[in-house]
C-alpha cells in the first residue's frame, strides 16, 4: 500500500487540509483483543478518527462491547477486509497473529511485548517462552518522538509499553546527545492500576491497592529493563545501566517516571536543557516544562501526549520527570500515533 498523503504534510502539519482527507478513502482496521483497557480505549479513539472504519473487533469471551460493538473470535476475523490491525493480545499470542497478518499483507500495530525486543533470545530469557514470530525481528519500534523515521510505511510496528515510554522520553534528549555518564540511571516510576490490565487479579483488587504505595519487581527484575536498555544503548552505547523501581499507586490511570541521571563532567544543566528544547519543542504530543518545573500525573492523565520536566538534582545529577496517561501515550494513543505515521496521515489526527 502506498502512502496516501505526501510526507510534507507530516513535517509541516500546518498546511494540512482536512477536507482533502475527507474525500480520500478511509482506512479499514480491525482490533484483536477488544475487551481489555487498551482495546476498549483504542476503539473509542478509532471511532473518533476521521479516516478510519472499524471493520471488526475480537474477543474470545465476550460477544459485544458495552456500546454494542459486536465482538468475534480472533479466528473468525476477516483479515482480508482490513488495511491494518491493532493487536491488544497477550504476550506470546500476539506475535503469532502479527505474523499471520503480515503474511496476509495487512499492516500491524502490536501493543503486546512480542515484537519489542530485537532478539528472540533476549525475549525468551525475559518472557520465559519461545518467541512466537522470530522472523519479524527486529521490528520497527514505535516511539515516534525517537524513532519516527523508521515508521513511515512500516509494515508492522512494535508499540512500547507505558513504563518504557515514560522512561525513554525522560532520557532521550540526553542519550541522543551522548550526555549520560556511565553511572547507573535510576528510574523510579509511579503507576496507576490499569497498567495491570482488566483481568481480575488479587493484587489489582480495590482493597489491595487502596491506601498503599507498593514497590514491585524493583532493581533489574522487571521485564521492561531490557527493553529500555535496548533503546538507550542504541542511542548512547556508553551510557550507564538501568535501575528500575516501579511503584503501584492508588490511581486508575496515569504514570510518572522520576529519573535520576548523571551527566558527563563537561555537561551543565543548561546545556542539557537545551537538548530537551531541541528534541521536544516542535513535538506536537510533548509538553516540555520550563527548566526546574517537574511533571505531575494530573497534567497528563486523560491526555494523549506526554509532559516532560527537567530539574536540578545535585552536582551533575539531574531529575527528569515524565508524566503520561499509561493507557494513552503509554498504549492506545501511541498506537494510533504510530498508525497515523505508518499510513502517512498527519501524526496527530484523532489525538489532539
Amino acid at each position: 500500500m502506498k502512502c496516501l498523503w505526501n510526507e510534507e504534510d507530516i513535517l509541516t502539519h500546518a498546511h494540512f487540509e482536512p477536507s482533502l482527507l475527507k474525500t480520500a478513502h478511509t482506512l479499514r482496521v480491525g482490533v484483536f483483543g477488544a475487551t481489555g483497557y487498551t482495546g476498549q480505549l483504542l476503539i473509542e479513539l478509532l471511532r473518533e478518527h476521521p479516516h478510519v472504519r472499524l471493520q471488526f473487533a475480537t474477543s474470545e469471551r465476550e460477544t459485544a462491547l458495552e456500546d454494542g460493538t459486536p465482538l468475534i473470535p480472533a479466528d473468525s476475523a476477516p483479515l482480508d477486509s482490513v488495511d491494518a490491525v491493532f493487536l491488544c493480545l497477550p504476550n506470546g499470542v500476539s506475535g503469532s497473529v502479527a505474523a499471520r497478518a503480515v503474511a496476509a499483507g495487512v499492516r500491524v500495530i502490536d501493543l503486546s511485548a512480542d515484537l519489542r525486543l530485537e532478539s528472540a533470545a533476549l525475549y525468551e530469557q525475559t518472557y520465559k517462552m519461545p518467541h512466537p514470530a522470530p522472523q519479524l525481528l527486529p521490528a520497527p519500534y514505535g516511539l515516534p518522538e525517537i524513532t519516527r523515521a523508521a515508521l513511515h510505511n512500516a509494515l508492522y510496528i512494535a508499540n512500547p509499553g507505558c513504563h518504557v515510554t515514560a522512561v525513554l522520553l525522560a532520557l532521550y534528549p540526553l542519550a541522543r546527545a551522548g550526555a549520560l555518564s556511565a553511572a547507573p540511571i535510576i528510574a523510579d516510576t509511579k503507576t496507576g492500576v490499569s497498567g495491570a490490565g482488566r483481568e481480575p487479579k488479587p493484587e489489582s483488587m480495590f482493597c489491595e491497592v487502596y491506601g498503599d504505595v507498593k514497590p514491585y519487581n524493583i532493581g533489574r527484575k522487571h521485564r521492561h529493563v531490557p527493553e529500555i536498555e535496548q533503546m538507550l544503548h542504541k542511542l548512547q552505547p556508553d551510557c550507564g545501566s538501568l535501575i528500575f523501581a516501579p511503584h503501584l499507586v492508588p490511581l486508575d490511570i496515569g504514570l510518572l517516571a522520576t529519573v535520576y541521571a548523571t551527566l558527563k563532567p563537561e555537561w551543565t544543566l543548561e546545556r542539557a536543557y537545551a537538548e530537551y528544547q531541541a528534541a521536544y519543542n516542535a513535538e506536537p504530543l510533548i509538553t516540555l516544562h520550563p527548566l526546574g518545573r517537574a511533571a505531575r500525573i494530573r497534567e497528563a492523565a486523560h491526555q494523549n501526549g506526554a509532559v516532560v520536566g527537567v530539574s536540578e538534582g545535585q552536582g551533575n545529577t539531574l531529575i527528569l520527570t515524565c508524566a503520561i496517561d499509561n493507557l494513552r501515550k503509554g498504549a492506545s494513543a501511541q498506537a494510533l500515533q504510530n498508525f497515523n505515521i505508518m499510513f502517512g496521515l498527519p501524526e496527530t489526527i484523532g489525538l489532539l
Copy 2:
C-alpha cells in the same frame, strides 16, 4: 528530675513489671498545639499510656477537642503543673515555648523543626527566620534507633519529621558502618497528605490531590535536606550528598522512602544486609524484611513502628525502602517513644 525507673528496665524490656509502674507515680504532661493532626493523635496516644496524665492541651482558636477535652490558650498553660510538655506548634513559635518550659524545669519534646538543626545559622538559612531559642542548640535529636544513648534523661528533645525519619532509618546501618560511597544518595519519597498539616491550603484540597502524583521541592530545595545530611555526615563524614525528591500521593497517611545508595567497592549486598540485621533485629519498633523484599506503605500505616527493606539494585547500588505512618513513627508515636526514653520508662509503653 531523676529517672523514675532504672535503666535496666529499658535494656531488658522483658522483665519489666507493669504492676510496679501502676503503683509508681504518674507523669503529668501538657500538649501545646492540640488541634493539628499530630497534636490530636498524640493526645489519643497519651490517653492510652498507663503512666501519663494529660494536664492541659492548648489551642489559640478552638476551645475543646471533638472528644470534649478542653483547650486553653498557650499563654494560660500552667507549666508548673506538668513534668513534660509536647510541642506541636509552628516553626518559629515552638522554640520560644521550649525555652520557656526548659527554664521552668519542665521537660520538652518539640515536634516542630526549631530544635532539629544544630546550628542557628543553618536554621536561619533554611527557615528564613531568626532562631527562636539558639541557647538550646544543639538539642538531643530524637530518632531513638540512632540516637538512643543521648536521650535518657534529656531535658529536651528535637523530634524529627516524617521524611527525615524514613530516609535516615533506610540509611542508618550503612552510614554507621561507613559503607556509603561518595556518590549522591537519592531519596525518592511518597507521602500522604496529612504531612502537610490540618490547616486548609489549596494544595491539600481533595480535588487537588485526587488522581495525581506530584513531585514537589525536589533536588536540594526541601527544608529537610540539611536535617538529613546533618545526621548522615555525623554518622559517616565521607558519604555522598543527598538528592531528595518528595512526591505527594493520594493517601491520607503513610510515607514510603525509596532510597538509592551506592556502596564502597569493598562492600557486598550480603555484607550490607548484615549491617541492617545488626542494627534492627533487636529494635522493637523496626520490622526488617528479608533481603530482597521491599517495604510498602500498607505495612506501616496505622502502626507505630517502621518497616525497612533492602533490595538489590545494580552493581554496588542498593534500593532501600522504609515505610512509616507519617503521623506516628514520623511524628507523634516517635514523640512518645522519646518521652518514654527520656523518663526511663520502657520504650514501647503505649506504642505496642
Copy 3:
C-alpha cells in the same frame, strides 16, 4: 438582539449546516469569576465552541489562568465588548453584576443561586441576605429539558445547581404527568467534593474526605430544598414535599441522586417508565437506561449530559437514579447549553 439562526435548526438538529455558522458572526462572551472550578471548566468549553470568542475573564485575586488567559478585575470588565456574560460569582455578588449586565444590554447566564428562586422573600429566608437584584425575578430557569421553551431569546437565565439538576431530572417525567402521590419524595444524593468549590475549606481537605461518606444538611436544611420544590410544585402542585439528604463521597467529580418517589395508586411502573421515554428519548443530553437499570456516577463523569434510571422499589414506590458530572451538566456544560438555546444555536454545539 435578534436570534441569529432560526428556531427550526434547534428543533431539527439534523439539517443544521456547520459551514453556515462558520460564516455567521461569532458571539463574544465574558466570564466573571474565572478561577473557580466552574469558571475554569466553562472557559475550557468556550474555547472549543466554534461560535464563541472569549473577550475577557475576571478574577479579583489572580491575574492569569494556568493556560495563560489573562484575568482582569470584575470592575474593569468591558461589558460593551460582549454579547453575553457567564457569572461564576458568589451568591449575593452575582445578582448585582447580572443587573448591571442586563441594563447594559448584555445577555446573562448566572451560575450562582441569585436568580434561581422566583421570590426575593424566599431568597432572603434561604440565603440570609437581601436579594441583590429583585427586579430580575422571576428569571427564566435554565434546566433545558424542563424549561426549554422559556429560554429561547431569554435576556438572562438562572443556571441551576448540581443537586437540583439531578433531582429534577430524576422526577420531571412523573411530575409533568401528575403521577406523584402526596407522600414525601426522598432524594438521597452522593456528591463529589468539587461541588463545594475551589476555596480552601476545612471540610474539603483531602484528609477530611478520604475514607469517609458524610451526610450533611439533611432533611429540609439544605438551601436547595426550596429550589427543587419550586419547580416540582410548578410541574405538579399536589405532589409531596421533599426530604433531601446530600452525602459527601470521596470523589473529585460526579453526583448521583437516588430518589424514592411514590406514584398515585392508578399508576404502574410501566406507565411511569413510558413517561420517561416520552420525556427523554429525544433529548440529546439525556441517556435513559432500560427499565430496571440504575444510573451510576461513572457513566456521567466527564460527560456533558445526564444518565437516568428507573427501577422498581416496592409497591407504588419507584427508585429513580440520575447521574451527572456536577461541574458539567450540573454547572458549566448546562450553562453553555443554556447559552446555545438563548442565542438560537443548535443546543449541543460544543457539548457533544
Copy 4:
C-alpha cells in the same frame, strides 16, 4: 459446657475482675475460612483476646497466613480440640460444617448467611439452593443489642451481615416501640468494597470502583431484604415493608445506612429519640449522637461498635443513620461479641 462466669458480670460490667479471668481456663477456638477479610480480621481480634487460644485455622488453598499462622484443610480440623468454632465459609458450605460441629458438641458462630433465615424454604428461595442444615433452624440470631437474651449459652449463633446490622440498628428502637407506620421503610446504604470479599471479581477491581458510586440490586432484589424484614416484623408485625438500595462507594471499609422511616401519627421526633436513648445509652458498643447529628463512616471505621444518628426529615418521616465498620461490627467484631456472650464473658472483652 456451663457458663464460666455468672450473668451479673455481664449486666454490670463494672465489677468484673480481669484477674479472675486470667486464672480461669482459656477457651480454645478454631476458625474455618481464615484467608478472607473476615477470617483474617477475626484471627487478629482473637489473638488479642485474653481468654482465647486459637487452636487451628483452615483454608483449602493456602497453607499459612502472612503472619505465619499455619492453615489446614477444613477436613483435617480437629473439632475435638476446641470449645468453639467460627465459620467464615461460603454460604451453602458453612451450614454443613456448623451441623458437624454442633453434633460434636462444639459451639458455633456462623458468619455465613446459612443460619440467618429462620425458614429453610425462605433460604432456598433467597439463595437458590437447598438449605445445608435445616435441623439447626431457627438459630439464635446474633445481633446482641437486639437479641442478647437469646445468646447466653447458645450452642450456635447466626452472625448477621453488615448491611443488615446497620439497617436494623438504625430501626430497632422504633420497631421495638411499635412506632413505625405502615409506609415503606427506605434503606439507602453506602458500602466499602471489602464487603464483597477477598475473592478477585471484576466488579471489585480497583479500576472498576475508583471514581464511581454504583447502586446494585436495588429495590427488593438484594438477598438481605428477607433477613432484615424477618427481624423487623418480629419486632413490630405491622411495620411497613423494606425498600433497600445498596450503593458501592470507593472505600475499602465502612458502611453507612441512611434510613427513611415514617412514624405513626401519634409519635413525635422527640418521643422517637427518647426510644433511641432508652435502647442505646447503656450499650457499650453503640454511640448515639445527639438528636439532629447524623452518623458518618469515618466515625465507625476501624472501630468495633456502631454509631447511630436520628435526624428530622419532614413531617413524620425521620432520617436515621447508622455507620459501622463492615468487617468489624458488620462481621468479625460482632462475631466475637457473640462469642463473649455465648460463653458468659464480659461482652466487650477484646473489643474495647
